[in-house]
């Protein structure tokens, strides 16, 4: 009974494409919903995303005391007295650690205000440890935002070029539309869960792009190979066959990836949580979109010309090869 790989059926014959019309519609709806969540309210710079100081500018301070509970109300008043508006104060741990986040008042130096606020906090609360301070000026946050956008767009463009070069334009378009789908849904996840969107999040999305395209290459590669092998098989059957053939790889690789990320989400601490969750989501969505977005698009985009062929897929057909 061991190795487990023997448990996986030697040959599956799930009809993936049959479900495609329903799932493609769902995907399209999910993409539109993500777009909506991401863009509404239309407010620069981040719209529906909960941007961290990286992209929005401002100050984030994390402090902890030696086991004393922090009076959040007092802290808020203190910050208001210092003249900073739009303050978020949040306790975590056992209430002895606090995160303070605020925007830099117009026309003032961000670092100077952060110093003033820290001095005021020390004055009020006595001895505290500043575990983390992040101050990002408006110019830098704008640049980071642009760089983030450029990184994502050039990431997708690069993948398009590579797949185009390796597989031709139809495959390339299919893969890139699927990729855009993955990126959009990941943005949707960030907007929906209100997870903080930071530079690290952009890094995780770029990695998702890398992983997702990897997965698409495996499936597309098999489709291309089968296109040569079974010259008469209708496209939908050929896609089903290819996905079935790569299924055990998809499962094993997906499971190892998810396992590693799951561990990181649980044990990696708060700093890695959002990153791991986004990546795990990306693996699931990326795997799904290889099968249900990238492949069906091939049908729509013209490789489906072979649709007219009469041959039916069958066991013999699949195995009778040299």
């Amino acid at each position: 009974m061991w190795p487990l790989i023997k448990f996986l059926p030697e040959k599956t014959s799930f009809k993936y494409v049959a479900l495609a019309p329903v799932l493609c519609t769902l995907s399209l709806l999910a993409c539109l919903a993500s777009l909506y969540l991401m863009l509404v309210p239309f407010q620069p710079p981040c719209a529906g995303l909960n941007c961290g100081v990286d992209f929005q500018g401002g100050t984030l301070i994390e402090l902890s005391t030696k086991g004393e509970e922090v009076d959040l109300g007092k802290l808020r008043t203190l910050l208001a007295d210092e003249g900073v508006g739009d303050v978020q104060v949040q306790a975590f741990g056992d209430g002895d650690a606090v995160m303070v986040k605020f925007e830099t008042p117009e026309g003032q130096n961000a670092a100077a205000i952060a110093d003033r606020v820290k001095a005021a906090i020390t004055g009020e609360l006595g001895e505290v440890t500043f575990d983390r301070t992040e101050v990002v000026g408006p110019q830098v946050s704008n640049e980071l935002l642009w760089k983030g956008v450029i990184a994502l767009l050039s990431g997708i463009a690069l993948m398009l070029c590579y797949i185009w070069f390796r597989f031709g334009l139809t495959f390339g378009l299919g893969a890139v539309i699927a990729l855009a789908h993955d990126v959009l849904l990941t943005f949707g996840l960030f907007a929906l869960t209100d997870m903080e969107f930071t530079l690290v999040a952009v890094g995780s999305i770029l990695t998702i792009i890398g992983y997702s395209i990897n997965d698409k290459i495996v499936v597309l590669d098999r489709i291309r190979e089968n296109l040569r092998k079974y010259k008469k098989m209708p496209m939908r059957d050929l896609i089903d066959l290819s996905v079935n053939e790569t299924l055990s790889r998809t499962i094993i690789t997906g499971v190892t990836g998810l396992m590693a990320l799951g561990v990181m989400a649980f044990y990696g601490g708060e700093a890695l949580f959002a990153f791991s969750v986004a990546m795990a989501f990306g693996i699931v969505v990326g795997t799904y979109s290889s099968i249900y977005v990238a492949a069906p698009i091939l049908l729509v985009l013209g490789i489906g010309k072979r649709e007219g062929a009469q041959a039916k897929v069958s066991e013999e057909n699949a195995v009778q090869l040299p």
Binding site: R132, N214, L272
Partner: protein
């Protein structure tokens, strides 16, 4: 493929051994390594600021202030050239506005001659771009309002900004790390920015105070013609300015705008104590030229006052009781022993050529970093064990075991490459490491699945193994090229910090993964096959 060329075998063995040696500082304690010659100089992986704790400061050079300084100097030059012209060209108002140095000629008919003279005397050729093309550093024109104005060329401004940033960088290094021993790094970023990364720095406030102060020390003569009531009302003649002072009896001092000497003319300074009052002072010594000028001026102005100005604020404005000819003196002005030492350190390190402003600051306390390291270690360990167990469960002791060995070699090589390049391991980098290992397994999975396909199609084990490798490699390379693309984009756009560390880890991981998944796996499978000569693959 089952006949592995000898060079490949040696390559795998040598790379693995070298990798193990280079990575060893990460798991062999220093005390054991100290006695082994090769090992004792190797360093473990460099931890990023988010793991180690420390401060990251991004400064921007105030380019506008720099340009203004230069324009002011240019106006002085222009005025001098016109005064020294024969016959003399007279001018009236002079000043700096809208990014130009301007003055007005008394007689507009002089303007062609003035323009030519200024251009000949002041403008220099600066290299613009490549190919030996040059342009004038400053161009002089006549405005429609009849003013003569000089504007710096773009290249000139860019070059002077670069120079100022380089100088600032050196000054900062001298200020924070006079001995050159700490791990603090000071680097230029882009054209006008400087990144300071101080790992382990517990007190970013002190660091900021030491870096951020321009510390421009100047000596001015006090303008005795200004009456106190005029000074209070802000009425001063041209060429004289009011400078603030920390003294309630005289909150402003009217001084001549032109500095007679500056911090650049100092040779050295030290904190010390005044011999009579015993209060903390900063004593200083001018260099040869400075001493001569100071001597002449104090001789000519005995009985009057001069002001010592630091960054536009008067520290002290004493009487010149007698000419100071020795070139040394002391500054007193409400110092504590600490602040006297701070100022003299700053003076010794030199002034910043232009003001700096912090545009980004990130600091992580040591406690948080320690927590992050522990979280990273725990999750790496658990994830590693889980993945290993899963692979052995999935593919059996033999093939699962082979992929586990490949994975362990991969992990060692990544650690070795990171230790060797000095790339910082950041918290997202830890995640990148785990993810890379998980994805590296994909290569093994692709190879094994191919073998199974081929075996299923009725091929003999040897041919199935062969075909499995040769066909899977194409897919593996495709996958890794795309990963590399994503990582390189991140690397080129991310600022130094966690995300860049992540990109580094991914990039290194791509290369080691291809190496181990393809070469190491192949070698192990080939060895096993030659020893066992199986009739059937164990994963079939």
């Amino acid at each position: 493929m089952l006949n592995v060329a000898p060079w490949r075998i040696w390559l795998v063995i040598i790379v693995t051994i070298v990798g193990l040696v280079v990575a060893s500082p990460n798991f062999v304690p220093q005390s054991y390594r100290a006695n082994i010659p090769v090992l004792k100089d190797l360093k473990p992986v460099n931890l990023g600021l988010d793991l180690q704790g420390g401060a990251y400061l991004l400064y921007q050079v105030d380019v506008k202030a720099l340009e203004k300084q230069q324009l002011e100097a240019a106006v002085d030059d222009m005025a001098r050239v016109l005064r020294e012209a024969k016959p003399r060209i007279s001018y009236t108002g002079r000043g700096v506005a809208d990014g130009a140095a301007r003055l007005r000629l008394v007689n507009p008919a002089d303007s062609p001659r003035a323009l030519k003279l200024l251009s000949d005397e002041i403008a220099t050729d600066v290299q613009a771009g490549g190919f030996g093309r040059t342009e004038k550093s400053i161009s002089f024109t006549q405005t429609p309002e009849g003013l003569i104005e000089g504007r710096f060329s773009k290249t000139m401004l860019e070059q002077s900004t670069r120079r100022a940033v380089d100088q600032s960088r050196e000054v900062i290094m001298r200020r924070i790390d006079p001995g050159g021993v700490s791990e603090t790094s000071v680097q230029r970023q882009g054209i006008d920015r400087i990144v300071v990364q101080a790992p382990g720095e517990q007190d970013p406030e002190t660091l900021k105070r030491r870096i951020g102060q321009t510390a421009r020390l100047t000596f001015h003569l006090v303008d005795h013609n200004v009456q106190p009531q005029d000074a209070a009302a802000g009425r001063v003649p041209p060429g004289t300015v009011l400078m603030p002072q920390d003294d309630a009896r005289e909150p402003f001092v009217a001084v001549k705008e032109r500095a007679i000497l500056s911090g650049d003319d100092l040779n050295s300074s030290n904190p010390s104590f005044d011999q009579q009052t015993n209060e903390p002072v900063v004593s200083f010594k001018f260099d040869g030229r400075g001493a001569r000028i100071f001597g002449q001026i104090t001789l000519a102005n005995t009985g009057k006052r001069f002001a010592v100005v630091l960054d536009g604020k008067v520290i002290t404005a004493p009487n010149i009781n007698e000419p100071i000819l020795g070139g040394s003196g002391q500054i007193s002005g409400n110092f504590t022993p600490e602040s006297a030492k701070e100022l003299s350190d700053l003076l010794n390190a030199g002034a910043l050529p232009a003001p700096l402003a912090i545009v980004e600051q990130r600091s992580v306390g040591p406690g948080l970093g320690q927590d992050a390291i522990e979280a990273g270690q725990v999750s790496t360990m658990i994830a590693g064990v889980l993945v290993l167990v899963f692979m052995i469960l999935a593919y059996g002791l033999l093939f699962g075991g082979i992929s586990v060995i490949a994975l362990v070699v991969n992990g060692i090589l990544i650690l070795a490459a990171m230790s060797l390049t000095g790339a910082a391991l950041t918290l997202p980098g830890v995640a990148g490491l785990i993810l890379t290992l998980a994805v590296a397994l994909d290569a093994n999975v692709l190879i094994y699945e191919r073998m199974r396909d081929e075996a299923k199609a009725g091929r003999a084990p040897a041919i199935a193994i062969d075909a499995g490798f040769s066909r899977a490699i194409v897919t593996i390379l495709d996958a890794n090229v795309t990963h590399l693309g994503a990582a390189l984009i991140m690397m080129s756009l991310a600022p130094p910090g966690p995300v860049k560390g992540f990109a580094w880890t991914l990039t290194i991981g791509v290369f080691t993964s291809v190496f181990t998944a393809v070469l190491v796996t192949q070698l192990l499978v080939a060895w096993w096959f030659r020893a066992a000569r199986p009739k059937k693959l164990p994963i079939q």
